[in-house]
Amino acid sequence: MSIRIALAGNPNSGKTSLFNAITGAMQKVGNWGGVTVEIKEGITSVNGTRVTVIDLPGTYSLSAFSEEEQVARDYLVKEKPDVVINVIDATNLERHLYLTVQLMEMGIRPVLALNMWDEVTAKGDSIDLKQLQALLDVTAVTTSARNRTGIDQLMLKAIEQAANNNKEVSILSVRMPEELEQSITAVEKSLKEHFPDLSQHRWYATKLFERDKTIEKIIENQPGAPLIRAQRNESDILITKRLGDDPASLIAESRYGYIAGIARETIVKGKQHRIEVSDQIDVVLTHRFWAYPIFIIFMWLLFQATFKLGEYPMGWIESLVGWLQEFASSTLPAGVIRDVIVDGIIAGVGGVIIFLPNIMILFFGISIMEDTGYMARAAFIMDRLMHRIGLHGKSFIPMIMGLGCSVPAIMAARTLESRNDRIKTILLTPLISCSARLPVFVLFAGTFFPKHAGNVVFLFQVVFSFGAFILMAILFKHTLFKGCADNPFVMELPPYRLPTVRSVLIHMWHKAEHYLQKMGGVVLLFSVILWWAGSYPESPAIEKEYDSKIASINTTGQLSSEQREARIAELQTEKSAKLLEQSYIGRVGHIFEPLVRPFGTDWRGAVSLITGFVAKEIVVGSMGVLYSAGTEGAEESDVLRAKLKEHFTPLSAFAFMLFVLLYTPCIVAFITIIRELKNWKWSAFSVCYQLIFAFSTATIVFQIGKLLGLQ
């Protein structure tokens, strides 16, 4: 035998924790609204019964106005799970029962899991279970997902319920004010007449009064729909006039009224009066003066841990990749296959896993912030500032993390609940200059503005990048997202809780796994393509020419061995430059030259910008090759600096730096954007707007500078 059980509940009810406790599966746990957007499945077995458990998104209601609510309701209506377990935070029975009532109005008889029971008893309170079960005519079990108690009992009750499923379930109908009751009954009657196939006509009628768009769509364009709509609208106006409030509010009020009655009958308040520790912590963490210093310290710690601590494992990964490359090139026979494996595949894999330490540490931090409840407070104290530029308080974290690397930063935008906020944040985050762009700024600032190098780097890395972020945010707010009403901020501030090590680790592991699964293939493919474009078509003529030159140096005895080596190195770079120039990338660079001319860069600059798409770090390396300065020493190289001075003026260098700051992020970041936006149009827009923005800014600065006679 096998059954399906769905878990439904409000955000922060402990649904995910319970899911983990039941199935032992790897799953995200967060003290934060709406983290579980996808539907997760897990399998377990109870006394020989195979049980599939489905974790639905956490929702406050089933009115189907947010994505989460829509997903949850669709699943319940269409998939019809055998049993629904309604997870309830027993310390806050009243609000959590609102969802229960809605489930029961749909004709579902849930098994209630009164979760967080440990906290209820710790407070010295209790709930009269017998009474609750009798009043609602449901089964209720007390559980604690944290201490893993009551879970077996819960599963047994759920299976018992599944066995009784064919019994007729009485549909709950909450008593409404008299006039409203009559109107609903009237609409219900018309529905029965015109739509005899629907079941639960009363539920549909109620939903029509709640102005539920999905339900309106179902009856739309059917005979009888205009009549029913007219009937609804008429009663709506009448009721609003008579009772002083619209039906939708009255329905919610009636449900809460019903629930308040149940709560009164069942909650047994203890005598203990404990001071709420949570409130005490809150006094400090959202204090008038201390809130920001504390927040900055937390952000600083998170940042340092993610990027400084992350450097160690990143170093290991790098040397591992290097070792693998060496190993492969020494064991495999020379040829195309070896090149593909060494320079394409291994380098590509290296490019993907190099971010793993950052992502794991960042999400370790984020999940601690979420599980403790601090994340909600961070949004609370930052919202005023972020809302000014049309964003949400929670957008702050992706913004700051962007300073390290856009990839984890974009992933961090998941913590935003509303889709609009998420899109805006993901579009803007790449503008924050990531650490990989730093070498470019160091090189150019050091070369062209040696007296103010530090200030210039700061100007680009911080002032310009945040400036661009704010500017674009405001622009988006007034153009693309104009008219989109701000999503309500209305956000629960859950009590502070100690996170469990287990849930934090599960979360971190889940993120890493997710990243590898989703990214691996695509990035790999792109890396191989880019590698191929950089090394093909092969040009035996150039190779032969330089090989013979090098050979001739080796045979002439006039030079000292040192001079000889220097000459050989010079020829090697020259050869790489030539090879790169005639490769596909080099050709594309030439094609794009007219596009970079307006801001004072030549085809070499164009090629290094294109290679920068693989990873921003590569820009400096490519320039070393292209300007025939050798790759050694990268941004510190004096040779490269001298060469750059031949090809750039301070003004064109400045424009080039602006372009590097603003143009499309690297390929891993780009794939992350596609994955997170899940929408091709927006992803394409993200690339285009950045390219246009970068191009126009760099060009305007360069041209105006030229007009002003700057060099």
């Binding site: 409030d245 809460y256 809130a291 501030l493 859950p494």
Partner: protein, 243 residues
Amino acid sequence: MTADTLTSTLEDYLEAIFNIIATSKVARSMEIADKLNVKRPTVTVALRSLADKGLINYEPRSFITLTEEGKRIAHCINKRHHILKDAFVEVFGLQETEAEDAACKMEHGMSTRLCQKITSLLQTIREDKALAQKLKTKMAQSEDGILCERNCLYSQNGSGSKNGKDSAQSDLNLIKPGKSGFITRILGKGELKRRLYEMGITNGQKITVVKAAPLDDPIEVKVRNYNLSLRREEAANILVEPE
């Protein structure tokens, strides 16, 4: 639009703007904040709402002027205020400050008819010196009469606070941290309103303002025994009767 459809809070704002403009031609949100003794963000929310209703010309960070409609209504409110205050001083013999305060609170609920009646009463007393004297002595003796119950949430005929017009009511932004009120009405519509009552913010429910964020916006409230945060502009839609 008539003055009756404005909440008392908004009427106060309109009146403040009217008075500031009368003395210095244009008003700035800072002056309004000073005059009404509230924080800047609160003012911004109210101003936006007034601008939406077409009563003021308002662009953030610039001057505020009244539209023709705004002038008309503000004038009405102002007139009601003065009539009431005069009546309190001349008829009931109250001190200036007390009269001012009472007029401020009572001016909002008055219908035009009532206003006219009080005007004619005032007129009569002004014309009849003997009557005025008689009243004065009578009023001076009545200090120790029966105190009236201050709270009258529902008026006799049952329509009561649900019409959103009674004078004791204000929006959530005016409740000081640590204080509570009872929700009398939720304005607006659409997603925000739905979200609010799904979260348990329904009429008659007690709501406590816990604190404001360090920059004064958003605020944290406690309702149905859990904590929730709201932006000021959202809180402006929740009308409450202070406890």
